[in-house]
């Protein structure tokens, strides 16, 4: 309920802040009720003359200001309490803000009740409480132009216990919150931590990285020891799964070592990794031996020229070899992530789908999101999941929604209704915990633009340079590296992560006027 510019009375009984004259004549109407035998209207009017000890104070003008969100919250609470406490049938409160000329109404209360005693008592009760508790202040201007903000001496400021802030913690609350897990202001429980181990990459995909990119100096990136420490703290707070990303994680030396350490952290049930696959040929076996549970491979095109056009490097053959090596190493339920780009990848949709069906990979199409290094994205460019689905259906037959066993996972999964010999045998999920079942060589759609899944989001992020982020698109970060490198305790890291979670917004807001592009590009956050 924001302060309104107009001076109309509310349609029904509620509390309101307004910026123009209060239409008191219609206020009584707002509380009319069949069950009401008594209707009371109180108006507080600004005085031009205030009796003083020696002389009278002359006021020519008043100005009111408020901490509006808080004032609205308090007024609403007071109104509700008045209704309950006095058995009112209706109650309207209006407080005016801004300049109020002498003799005009600054506050108005209308109450109705079965009998007059309650109606009168409630109005008086409300005025007492409003004057004591609502964060509104008046400034009196005298005849000589002197302006004085009124802050009564009697220590009248709101009782903090009456209106406690939600979501803030006293020292004793911290411990109990740590046990409760990483829950944000919207009730989302966070169990997934994406850890970027590098901002470097051996490709230059147009939607992710600018051509002349500047990478962070290596000493600005977290060491494996630091990463493991943060992961440990996070696991203690409720993180259950870790996904290693980058840039391209495999370009960092000995990622298998990191994997080996992460899988042993108590509380961590799954460690997975997203890669462009170029180095999988060499590292798949090591990764599997180190205990990596799952692999996601990014592949947007099977056409060599198109691959090169998007990635600005050659390498399709290495990716395919890497996928083969991953299968040989024993990775099951490998997921292929394909970014859909209008005007570019439409022709790859069916070939990719057929390839994945044959190989037993679960394919997912991802709508192109606004995080490219060249700062070039517009609404019209989104090749939506729905359109991709339509193309697939036209060529490969109907798609049937698959059972979703993992609510936090953003993809909507389908299986092909027309199963045929071209499909690989159903791949049982050997590596995943908690009964996550990947449909046998099905296809999924991650649609962050057309179907935001913010309400189910369960993931947090740690960038390669040690910043916590609560959203890919957030514009604020929390500096864990500083805590680590200035001798901070695990408790401090924990508190930082909790602060980060608590500040999480409802949604990323893509496509809304409020959306603010983050200053980092994807390769710097960890896709």
């Amino acid at each position: 309920m924001a302060a309104s510019e107009t001076n109309t009375t509310p349609a029904s009984n509620e509390s309101l802040l307004v910026w123009g004259p209060i239409d008191t004549a219609r206020l009584l109407d707002s509380v009319a009720d069949d069950a009401a035998g008594a209707n009371v209207l109180f108006t507080g009017t600004t005085r031009g003359v205030t009796a003083g000890a020696i002389t009278n104070q002359i006021t020519t003008r008043l100005v009111y200001e408020a901490h509006e969100p808080l004032a609205s919250a308090v007024l609403t609470r007071l109104r509700d309490e008045a209704v309950a406490k006095h058995g009112l049938t209706a109650c309207t409160i209006i407080h005016r803000l801004g300049e109020v000329a002498v003799g005009e109404t600054s506050v108005a209360i209308a109450t109705s009740a079965p009998h007059r005693r309650e109606a009168f008592a409630a109005a008086e009760w409300l005025m007492e409480r409003i004057k004591r508790e609502v964060p509104i202040w008046k400034c009196e201007e005298g005849a000589d132009g002197d302006r004085t903000w009124v802050h009564p001496d009697s220590g009248v400021h709101p009782d903090t216990e009456l209106y406690p802030a939600s979501g803030t913690l006293s020292a004793s609350d911290v411990q109990s919150e740590q046990r409760a897990g990483l829950v944000d202001g919207f009730g989302r429980v966070h169990t997934d931590l994406r850890i970027s181990v590098t901002d470097r990459c051996n490709l230059r995909c147009t939607y992710c990285m600018p051509l002349d990119v500047a990478f962070k100096p290596r000493d600005e990136l977290l060491s494996y020891e630091e990463i493991v420490r943060v992961a440990r703290v996070a696991a203690g707070l409720g993180i259950r799964s870790i996904r290693i990303t980058g840039g391209e994680p495999l370009v960092r030396h000995d990622v298998s070592d990191l994997v080996g350490q992460l899988v042993t952290i108590p509380g961590i049930e799954e460690v997975s990794l997203t890669t462009n696959g170029l180095l999988l040929g060499e590292q798949a076996a090591d990764l599997r031996r180190a205990g990596l549970h799952r692999l996601n491979v990014s592949l947007d095109a099977l056409n060599e020229d198109l691959f090169e056009q998007i990635a600005r490097r050659q390498g399709l053959d290495r990716v395919l070899a890497g996928l083969a090596a991953a299968k040989t190493a024993g990775f099951h339920s490998i997921r292929i992530n394909a970014v859909s780009i209008r005007g570019l990848t439409e022709g790859e949709i069916v070939p990719l789908a057929q390839f994945c069906r044959r190989e037993g990979f679960h394919l997912r199409f991802i709508e192109f999101m606004p995080l490219d290094g060249e700062a070039s994205w517009s609404d019209g460019q989104v090749l939506s999941g729905r359109e991709v689905r339509d193309i697939l259906t036209r060529h490969l037959g109907p798609l049937v929604p698959a059972h979703r066993s993992d609510a936090g996972q953003p993809a909507i999964d389908y299986v092909y209704a027309n199963a045929d010999a071209a499909d690989a045998a159903e791949t049982a999920d050997a590596g995943g915990p908690g009964g996550q079942s990947t449909p046998a060589a099905g296809v999924g759609f991650i649609d962050p633009v057309t179907q935001p899944f913010c309400d189910r989001c369960d993931r947090l992020r740690l960038t390669a340079d040690g910043q916590f982020r609560n959203c890919l698109f957030s514009t604020t970060e929390w500096d864990a590296r500083q805590v680590l490198r200035t001798g901070g305790s695990d408790d401090e890291i924990a508190r930082l992560l909790q602060d980060c979670v608590r500040a999480k917004r409802a949604a990323h807001g893509i496509g809304t006027p409020a959306f603010e592009r983050p200053a980092r590009a994807m390769y710097q956050i960890g896709g």
Binding site: G44, Y64, E65, A66, H67, P69, L70, A71, H95, S106, V107, I130, K131, R132, E133, V134, P135, I136, W137, K138, C139, R147, W149, V150, H151, P152, D153, S154, G155, V156, H157, P158, D159, T160, E161, L162, Y163, P164, A165, S166, T168, L169, S170, A171, V174, T475, T476, E477, W478, D479, Q482, E492, R495, L496, Q498, D499, C500, A503, A519, R520
Partner: protein
């Protein structure tokens, strides 16, 4: 530690605090809003910090409440980095 600024190539660091001021307190220092470098602490430590940085508002500050978001906080409450804090001096509405 200095407060970091939001520039075109740097994200906002959450090691700052925005403090909203009102009425006589805002008039006393000519500011409606302050941005402080902040690495965590309680409401009590925020009070001390504000009183030290802005002596002109210290007396009124002592009679004011601290609000974060939708309500008031006690002095021993933690003020997280990136929080939206308001100082509420004695009120005079109604």
């Amino acid at each position: 530690m200095h407060a970091s600024h939001s520039t075109s190539d740097q994200p906002t660091r959450a090691d700052t605090l925005r403090v909203s001021l009102f009425a006589g307190m805002a008039a006393a220092i000519g500011r409606r809003s302050l941005e402080l470098a902040w690495d965590g602490g309680t409401a009590a430590s925020l009070r001390s910090r504000l009183a030290a940085d802005f002596p002109a508002i210290a007396p009124l500050l002592a009679r004011s409440a601290v609000a974060i978001g939708d309500g008031y906080v006690t002095d021993d409450s933690r003020v997280p980095c990136g929080a939206d804090v308001a100082i509420i001096p004695p009120v005079s509405g109604g």
